[in-house]
Amino acid sequence: MTHRIYFDNSATTPVRKEVVDEIMPFLTELGGNPSSRHYEGRVVRTAVEAARAKVAAALNADPAEIYFNSCASEGNNTVLRGYMLGLGKNTKKNHIITTAVEHPSIFNTAAALEKEGFEVTYLPVDGKGNLNLDDLRKAIKENTGLISTMFVNNEIGNIYPVEEIGKIAREHNILFHVDAVQAVGKIPVDVKKIGCDFLTVSAHKFYGLKGVGSLFVKRGRVLKNLLTGGHQEKGKRPGTENVVGIIGMGKAIELAVAELDEEAKRVAALRDHLEQRVLAEIPYTRVVGDPSHRVPTLSNISFRFVEGEGILLKLDTEGIAVSTGSACSSSDLKASHVITALNGDPEEAHSSIRFSLGKHSTLEDVDYTVDTLKSTISLLRSFSPIYDEFVNSDKH
């Protein structure tokens, strides 16, 4: 295949070369089990602990507060379900507060907890996808035990005020979990500044491997295990460690944090260029989300009168990978609950395209993409019945 333009870095990122180099010896020569006391085991144990120290340093946590697991979906489940299981029959704190725009690994888990008799409040967002902290204050009740919010939204890129939320949680003695999956490598993530009790991270969003994540659990906080088994991860997460995933994650997060300032500036300039050109050169387009509280890598744009899957397919054949919140491109044919939460309009979700840039994105990629979009959108509009109706009415 010739040059591909990958603008789907929020879905996952390719593994970076430095990570491949770092894990290579552990794929080829160093194959011991980190729990073994012999040399083969000890070498691997040392590398796993070095990776833990790197993850901890990146998040301003203590290495003892970092638990490796299989992904952020597991991390999010561990917090919500582990919290619930820990309460046992003592159900005085069975109210959880989360938001209407969480990733399915929170959203669907919260819904599952509701079936178990828990009470869940989903905080609404405004038309730009922002939370109102007064809604949070009003939602807090006697029996509220846990607040779980994302740091950065995966579909629109909004950054949520986790420090303020953390402060409110502490004032009310409520535990606070942050899904920081989309934040690492894009904005600083500091567990002490946020003041959270739990925080989830996933390596494949910052050029590490897929299938490895880590959960920060503040010292003194306890979550009931989801799995029973061996003593790994201090008995909190049994199973022989994903050694290469963990070692790669250490390297990836170290580099992501070291490069953050410079890379954020570079990518933001590209993203802004893309957005400005699209808005100026393609009529009936609109930014979804809040441009003033957003990560530098992401732009979500709606292209009125055309359906997102069509845009995605067309761009794909022209060598460009993007994603869409359209119902038509999801296997359950449901529009994105995130974009629908913004204004209750499934039509907007239908027409929305997410461009998520990354460290490999260039100005040439952006310009080629905008040029391709211009022809794609006008072609799809040329036979869109709702566009036809719109131009032939005198509404516009």
Binding site: F305, V306, E307, E309, G310, L313, K314, T317, S326, A327, C328, S329, S331, D332, L333, A335, P346, E347, H350, S382, F383, S384, P385, I386, Y387, D388
Partner: protein
């Protein structure tokens, strides 16, 4: 399941798009499940032959491809022949569709049937 080559061909090069001149039968249907809309325009001659046909579609790749395929399959046919075209036949002609996309192929044939049935009702045809 991914789209077949034939689906992609009809999606990338849709046949019979836009609005024909002087249509005498129009069928418009929408899918409440995902909010997609298909409109089919026909010009039927006094012998009941579909002289010309076109479509406008707001929807996914499968919706566009099935619209294109449906129009191609019935162009030049008698309306009673055209009424025999169902979603399964269109899907088969396209080499199959992903399971969750089968409802899209319904839309094009529904719009076609609606247009023809209204035309027949208007002229008192059975």
């Amino acid at each position: 399941m991914n789209y077949t080559e034939k689906v992609m061909d009809h999606f990338l090069h849709p046949r019979n798009v836009g609005k024909i001149e002087n249509p005498n039968a129009i069928g418009k249907v929408g899918n409440p499940a995902c909010g997609d809309i298909i409109e089919i325009f026909l010009r039927i001659n006094p012998e009941g032959i579909i002289e010309d046909i076109s479509f406008e579609t707001f929807g996914c790749g499968a919706a566009i491809a099935t619209s294109s395929m449906t129009t191609e399959m019935v162009k030049g046919k008698h309306i009673d022949e055209a009424l025999k075209v169902t979603r399964d036949i269109v899907a088969e002609e396209l080499g199959g569709l992903p399971a969750e996309k089968m409802h899209c192929s319904n839309l094009a044939s529904e719009a076609l049937h609606k247009a023809i049935n209204e035309y027949k009702a208007k002229y008192g045809l059975k």
